[in-house]
Symmetry: C2
Subunit: 146 residues, 2 copies
DNA sequence: CCAGCTAACTTAGTCTAGCTAAGTATTCGA
DNA sequence: TCGAATACTTAGCTAGACTAAGTTAGCTGG
């Protein structure tokens, strides 16, 4: 571990708490949690199976079962069956779910855009320039299903 | 909302899920949660009152009461009383708590530093350059007690 | 000066969201 | 064809968030 790596790690660590705080503020007064919004987003381009959803969101199957139960209870998704394999449960967005996804996403993006509006052009450029590095740092691709 | 602001907001929104996933992976196999580590960090430079802790962590008082109950149960903090105002409860780190904080912080920083080690010099520079903008974006100072 | 309001916590009860262990039904492979 | 593996659900635990309501202590205006 070089000094630079450690220093950056410390600096980022200091800010992680604020990221969590911002996420909470972004979700306040929304009728949907950020986890739910995230799952609805996974269903945007067609039905998915439970295993796929669990893998993509980095949780165990029972956690996803409970999450889908809540979303189904609220009428945002519907369970279905896979023709080829009778063990498989598929999940798809309902019309309500699609609306809720669009609304939630819009509010989230509006919330973030407001904050970007408070930055200078130079600061926005700096953030944009850091995005590829952020992707590598977060291991964006590692969490995808095979 | 300008096109740039909206675009950046969308890009960041896409990555927020991965931030949450990384945080979960960083906390896996640790004997302490990231919330607990965060609260212990607030106590590093001396005792704090419950209201101060709740404000700093953006939660309501009952949430902090429950959190401190868990930390006290595990022997990481101790409750005390304020001489001047008998309503006030103070919280301080125990020796065990201080050790646990150091260990947890070290693991977190190690975890992040490993990821920074996978970046190029240019990428690390880009991240470092974005830190001040990130602070403004996160509203780092807004969450402090007056 | 004390009665009543406010402030600082705690308790009780609810919800989301994570986990493991164990149960059921179905598929696949030797 | 039968036994192991796979896909999911159920049951039960914990952390961590909330509101509403209770307790105790400080403060203040008539």
């Amino acid at each position: 571990m070089t000094a630079t790596e450690r220093h950056l790690a410390e600096q980022l660590n200091l800010r992680l708490r604020h990221v969590v705080l911002m996420l909470r503020r972004a979700g306040a007064d929304q009728p949907i949690t950020s986890q739910q919004l995230s799952v609805l987003g996974s269903l945007e381009h067609g039905p998915r199976r439970m295993t796929g959803l669990a893998d993509e969101h980095g949780v165990r199957m029972p956690t996803m079962t409970a999450q889908i139960n809540r979303l189904e209870r609220d009428g945002l998704v519907a369970r279905g069956r896979d023709g080829a394999d009778a063990r498989v449960v598929t999940v798809r967005l309902t019309a309500t779910g699609r609306d809720r996804l669009a609304a939630g996403r819009e509010r989230r993006i509006g919330f973030l855009a407001e904050r970007f509006a408070n930055l200078t052009d130079e600061e926005r450029t700096a953030v944009a320039a850091a995005l590829p590095a952020l992707d590598k740092l977060l291991g964006t691709s590692e969490t995808r299903a095979p």
